[in-house]
């Protein structure tokens, strides 16, 4: 289920699409090269616009913490299950051990694993919120992500809270925890099915990238599925598909717009409108 392309897998090398670069005569780190339009844009201005390019509206990476700040009312977030920590049940090692990888990812991102969960307010509406962060091993789902999401969904079921999950997971189910990661897909989906039976409202927000086992579980199960513009969303990685069928992939394949066109997404939302539109949907659904 980890369908990410080899070139984008080393989380160390790719985590932040917001890569500062040097411009002649300007101190390093003040300018960004936009992958959307190629222009050099002033980093401060991008940050003020929620990490969106002022020239072309390209949506840059945002960390889970920034995302929470963008969506929730200030100071309302109460994290849950931060005390769950990843283990290394397979004693997995590729060219590097998973145990080492976890330590360095935690140090680099300041996260304990790829999902942050908790409760808070969206324009004064109480919600259960989860956000995955693509900087932490590609935002992939192992046991901790699966358990945090499941506990959050169970909490939302008990407390009758609307549930928002914002996905940024290019890595799908995390290879380093093997079959246990795959099973998290079933565990989280089962929790969502029970939440659904209890009448809970689930809004799934897909951001760049949402692939593999994350796309093929909770991310696709929203009563409402929203996406940011031009996010990469799909089941199989583009390279895997290309290698299988041996032809070039069509322009815009596996983007938010492609999925909207094929009927799998309800709305594409600019980042600046996300909070307001979540609140609006909650009001329509009577929660």
């Amino acid at each position: 289920m980890s369908t990410v392309d080899p070139k984008t897998t080393d989380s160390e090398s790719q985590n932040s699409p917001v890569t500062p670069h040097r411009k002649r005569g300007v101190p390093e780190g003040l300018w960004l090269k936009c992958p959307g339009c190629g222009a050099s844009v002033y980093k401060k201005e991008v940050e003020q616009r929620l990490n969106v390019c002022p020239k072309c509206e390209h949506h840059f990476y945002v960390s889970a913490r920034e995302r929470i700040a963008q969506v929730l009312d200030e100071g309302t977030f109460e994290p849950m299950n931060e005390h769950l920590r990843p283990a290394d049940p397979l004693e997995f090692s590729d060219r590097r051990s998973y145990a080492d990888r976890l330590v360095s990812e935690q140090k680099r991102t300041g996260l304990t694993d790829a999902a942050v969960t908790g409760t808070g307010m969206v324009r004064a509406r109480r919600v259960a919120l989860a956000v995955t962060d693509s900087a932490f091993i590609m935002g992939s789902m192992g046991s901790v992500v699966g358990e945090r999401l499941t506990r959050l969904i169970e909490w939302a079921t008990e407390q009758n809270l609307p549930l928002i999950i914002i996905s940024a997971s290019g890595g799908g189910a995390r290879m380093h925890e093997g079959i246990l990661s795959l099973m998290q897909m079933a565990k989280v989906s089962a929790a969502l099915a029970r939440y659904d039976e209890a009448g809970g409202l689930f809004i799934s927000v897909l951001t760049n990238p949402t692939m593999g086992g994350v796309a093929a579980s909770f991310a696709s199960l929203g009563d409402l599925v929203f996406a940011e513009p031009k996010a990469l969303i799909g089941f199989a990685g583009p390279r895997t598909i290309k290698a299988t069928i041996g032809i070039e992939l069509p322009e815009g394949f596996q983007t938010s717009e492609f999925l909207l066109e094929h009927g799998y997404i309800d709305r594409i939302l600019m980042r600046k409108n996300l909070k307001t539109e979540i609140a609006r949907a909650i009001d329509y659904c009577g929660k």
């Binding site: 990843p86 925890e177 079959i179 199989a236």
Partner: protein, 324 residues
Amino acid sequence: MSAGPGLEFENDIADLENRIGSLERQTDRSGDIENEIRTLRLELVRQLRETYSSLDAWQTVQVARHKNRPYTRDYLNLAFDDFVELHGDKHFGDDRAMLSGFAKLDRFKVLVLGHQKGRTYKERAACHFGCAHPEGYRKAMSKMRLAEKYQLPLICFIDTPGAYPGIGAEERGQAQVIAESMFKMSRLRTPVICVVIGEGGSGGALGIGVGDRVAVLQHAYYSVISPEGCAGILWKSHEHAPKAAAALRFTSQDLSRLGVVDDVLQEPLGGAHRDHHQMASRLKSYLSRTLGELEVKTADELVAERYEKFRKIGVFIEESQTEV
């Protein structure tokens, strides 16, 4: 049944099988020849026992993918008394990689779902080598509804390298159908038994894998990603697939230890591909016994216990919350 096209690690075994075969074909067998056959047979059994009691992960993958390994349709022929194939995803088309229909097993009327790989090249191409498209999962979901409505236990045979990666598959919602199928299965108000008979390839396998009981054949495997895919990503080369296979811990023993499967079904000596009949008969008695255990449960009990079964899976550290 002979093992057919050989596996590399079975060269000595294949050699023995050939020698026994050619001796047996002699019309006029002297006592010496009979003795020779007996000796070779004993040696064959010894070697099969030795090799198959200690297959490594990569060898297991080879056995699970063996071209003569019994597929869903073979089990339908050998273990079931009747089979009424039902096509129809009621949406787009008929996916040959997903078989479904009514069947009888002992005294039970059941609904069977299963990946199908195909035996001849033509069949294999028509089945996309066991890789289902979204229409396969939609077909599966339509049969799940039928099973629930008419209180037929559902039996799912898992045998796929993975869900199909292609343009049409993405256009028609591969990710969404797999998610929806797990979602539905988790609440299905009828008994569900899943058996990994060969390859349990990631989401494509799990899409029909949420059951009250999940069993795996001794030499089958069940993995988050194919060993080749994992090697390509983490070792940057498919050639490291044997290393990835070992690292992923996906053999029946591992799955049992990790709490992912409830039961491991022992295969005949030398693997299921050597004796379809014996494997089918073991599978049949397992299914019959398990159906008997599940039929006494109410739908509420089934759904609640199925939830708990998957709820428990995962390994993590729970730090004391009082610590700072």
